[in-house]
């Protein structure tokens, strides 16, 4: 044991921290844009549809009649992994449902969105600065330019933007990924018995970052 200790003593002394800071090889590390992982996790049942997860800097739009429920499933895993969620919503989203789908409400901030589209986009841009996931309903009259402003900030900050778009206000081609939903059937309920338990939702994945549109039927809770 003493031999090994003595052996270590023969090695050159470790360089002081200041030397290390001056090392050009280390300097390059700090110039790397971002050491965070490139994507935020997405859990079941959507994991199969978005194998890359929620990619930072990109916009996902959910449309159709199951949009709200799908968005809650979409952001749940990321919030559980430590990301903060800013939810721009005027009280429509059922928070109990969000909790049941796994959204970490302790890291969720609810923002009442301004009505006019230009203040909406500047509020969203502010949120993107600090929140890793921002979910919002596009307001009536939002122009592609309003959305582009937010998207530019999303790309710069490496956040993920999720647009809840049941009324299909987001123009085609503006979102990187579009998840168009349509409920096929409900399960667990009969005439006067059981309760609404789960449903089959047909999801069509499209958008400018999707190589080839494809569709799948998912069984989701509520």
């Amino acid at each position: 044991m003493f031999a090994t200790l003595r052996g270590m003593g023969d090695a050159p002394p470790p360089r002081a921290l200041t030397d290390l800071r001056a090392d050009p090889r280390l300097r390059t590390l700090t110039t790397l844009p971002d050491l965070r992982s490139a994507a935020l996790p997405v859990g079941d049942p959507l994991g199969g549809l978005l194998p890359d997860g929620l990619v930072r800097g990109r916009t996902v739009a959910c449309s159709g009649d199951a949009a709200v429920s799908l968005v809650l499933h979409l952001v749940a895993a990321a919030t559980q992994a430590g990301s903060w969620l800013a939810l721009f919503d005027d009280g429509r989203v059922g928070l109990l449902a969000a909790h049941e789908r796994g959204v970490a409400l302790q890291r969720t901030v609810l923002v009442s969105p301004p009505r006019d589209p230009s203040s909406w986009s500047s509020a969203l841009a502010t949120a993107v600065d600090g929140f890793e996931v921002v979910a919002a309903f596009p307001p009536r009259g939002a122009s592609p330019a309003d959305l582009r402003r937010v998207q530019a900030r999303v790309q710069a900050r490496g956040a993920a933007l999720v647009l809840v778009d049941p009324r299909r206000r987001v123009p085609a081609g503006q979102a990187d990924v579009v998840l168009a939903t349509r409920t096929r059937a409900w399960h667990g309920i009969a005439d006067g018995a059981g309760h609404l338990e789960s449903r089959d939702v047909e999801v069509e994945v499209a958008g400018r970052r999707t190589a080839r549109p494809h569709r799948a039927v998912l069984r989701i809770a509520g």
């Binding site: 199951a66 059922g94 901030v109 923002v111 509020a123 600090g130 309920i189 509520g222």
Partner: protein, 529 residues
């Protein structure tokens, strides 16, 4: 390094909201009572003489003094009526602090020397104030430390100014009851009441205790009250060397007239100031904000916060000062420069979040973004969900403004409902809740409206739902889930039944909804969107 409390002068008009309401009516001396949330928050001396106290209910106050004019609490009026007083004082001393309407705090050392001593200085102040405040009972005092000066000013309201000689503040403070901490130093009333129950009646008793047990029992509050009891300032003095002085200014090439734009431009400067101080383990307890316009007008104000001013709080102060300036006299041109000078520093406290999981950097960013959103949209628009419970899926969580919670501390523990309430709807909960749900008609197969009997049984199976957009077929339904709440309370009791239903019509996807029947009306209370 400065030690000991600073010598300050305080101008205080006790019960300013009531005095302001009286001045606005044109009757500065009559009895006026100001109510907020049905409780008396301020009353004039005339009303106090009749036995009206703060915290009384409206009925009690009116019984004690039937002739009193009852006014609602209006902070805007308080500020507007106080503006002439602020102007009169700032003509004597340019740099003052207005912690709330009715109180002015100003550094006393320089002005006293200039005007020839505390006596002549306070006499000048008294003349200026009494002219501007329409003869209201103002108190003026000079002492070492804010607490002593504030208490003395309230004590001598309506009389000649009071000058506590240098070094005389500590014995004065020691003789005061601990209740002054809640009244004049912003200490939590519950803590003060606990001191009283522990047998600590006077601040002198508190000052006689060692700091260690006080901090062990009350945390940072214990250290704060001990400093106050010793006659010192509430914020702890900086023990390390102060950081090198730097100017933090935000200048504009073109005059800016939009208040929000000015505040937004100050945000990076405030961030820089906070970061500069934080690098030296300090933060700002008092800041001098100076705003200049293109026409050479200038607004200077001091802002104090014993807990320290964060970057967002600094921006708030700039915004408030600007708004007040515009509301009052008003600058005649756009803003060309905003300067921030840290006046008093305190050691940086806290900010060590993220110990219990979560990414501290991520938490900080989110907290800062929330602060910016509050500044942008207002405190009511940025909220966090807090579990409340109940049988209504739309009301299981209540939105609490972020300004009222500690966001970092919150992130550490989940906001989990403990257990489901009896009688609540089965899991999963609907993803869209409707605040003001539209009324619908629910009919059975025979075309008759579906009703509910005394034992919550349906008159028949629902077969179609008619809303504003047309008729929906009921493809499936389940329930009912009845709710009987507060049946003992005539006014607040609630009786309703809920159904799950799947609605469909040609060309539309089957829609899951929650139908609710209350007071004979069916509504779509929530949807599975």
């Amino acid at each position: 390094m400065a030690s000991g409390p600073t010598r300050v002068a305080v101008v205080a008009v006790p019960d300013w909201p009531a005095v302001a309401a009286g001045i606005e009516r044109g009757d500065a001396s009559g009895p006026v009572v100001v109510l907020h949330a049905q409780r008396v928050v301020a009353r004039t001396a005339a009303a106090a003489a009749e036995g009206v106290r703060r915290g009384m209910r409206r009925r009690e106050a009116q019984a004690a003094c039937p002739s009193a004019h009852v006014a609602p609490h209006q902070p805007v009026r308080d500020r507007a009526v106080f503006d002439p007083v602020v102007r009169a004082v700032s003509e004597l001393v340019p740099l003052i602090e207005v912690p709330e309407p009715g109180t002015i705090v100003l550094p006393a050392r320089g002005p006293s020397r200039y005007f020839g001593g505390d006596g002549p200085f306070t006499a000048l102040l008294a003349t200026a104030v009494s002219a501007a405040a329409h003869g209201a009972r103002a108190g003026i005092a000079v002492a070492d430390g804010r607490l002593a000066a504030t208490v003395a000013a309230h004590h001598c309201a309506g009389g000649p100014p009071l000058v506590v000689p240098p070094g005389g503040s500590a014995p004065l403070v020691a003789s005061l009851p601990v209740s002054v901490l809640a009244e004049h130093a912003g200490i939590d009333a519950d803590a003060v009441s606990l001191f009283e129950r522990l047998g600590i009646a006077r601040l002198g008793d508190l000052a006689a205790l060692d700091e260690a047990p006080l901090v062990a029992r009350f945390g940072p509050l214990g250290a704060d009250v001990r400093r106050l009891a010793l006659g010192d300032d509430r914020h702890p003095p900086l023990v390390a060397d102060p950081p090198p002085e730097r100017t933090f200014a935000c200048t504009f090439e073109e005059p800016v007239e939009d208040q929000r734009a000015v505040a937004a431009a100050c945000a990076p400067v405030a961030d820089e100031l906070s970061a500069h101080l934080a690098a030296h383990g300090a933060c700002c307890a008092q800041v001098h904000v100076s705003i200049a316009t293109d026409h050479g007008e200038q607004s200077d104000r001091l802002w104090y916060e014993p807990a320290g001013l964060s970057a967002a709080a600094l921006v708030d102060r700039v915004r408030w000062q600007l708004a007040e300036w515009v509301e009052g006299r008003g600058p005649t041109s756009g803003v060309v420069a905003v300067r921030l000078f840290p006046v008093a520093l305190r050691p940086l406290a806290g900010g060590q979040a993220g110990l219990w999981g979560g990414d501290a950097r991520c938490d900080d960013a989110a907290v800062q973004a929330s602060e910016r959103l509050v500044a942008m949209l207002g405190a009511a628009c940025v909220a966090v969900p807090e579990w409340r419970g109940g049988r209504d899926p739309g009301r299981a969580f209540v939105a609490v403004p972020v300004t009222a919670v500690d966001l970092r501390g919150r992130a550490a523990s989940p906001v989990v409902p403990r257990e489901a309430w009896r009688g609540s709807l089965p899991v999963p909960a609907p993803s869209v809740v409707l605040d003001d749900p539209p009324e619908v008609a629910v009919r059975g197969a025979d075309g008759e409206p579906v009703t509910v009997g005394g034992r919550h049984e349906l008159s028949g199976a629902p077969s179609c739902v008619v809303d504003g957009a047309g008729e929906w077929r009921v493809l499936a339904w389940a329930g009912p889930w009845p709710v009987e709440e507060r049946w003992w309370d005539e006014r607040r009791r609630r009786r309703m039944v809920r159904l799950h239903a799947v609605l469909g019509r040609d060309g539309a996807a089957p829609q899951g909804v929650v139908l609710a029947l209350e007071s004979g009306r069916w509504r779509v209370a929530a949807r599975f969107g």
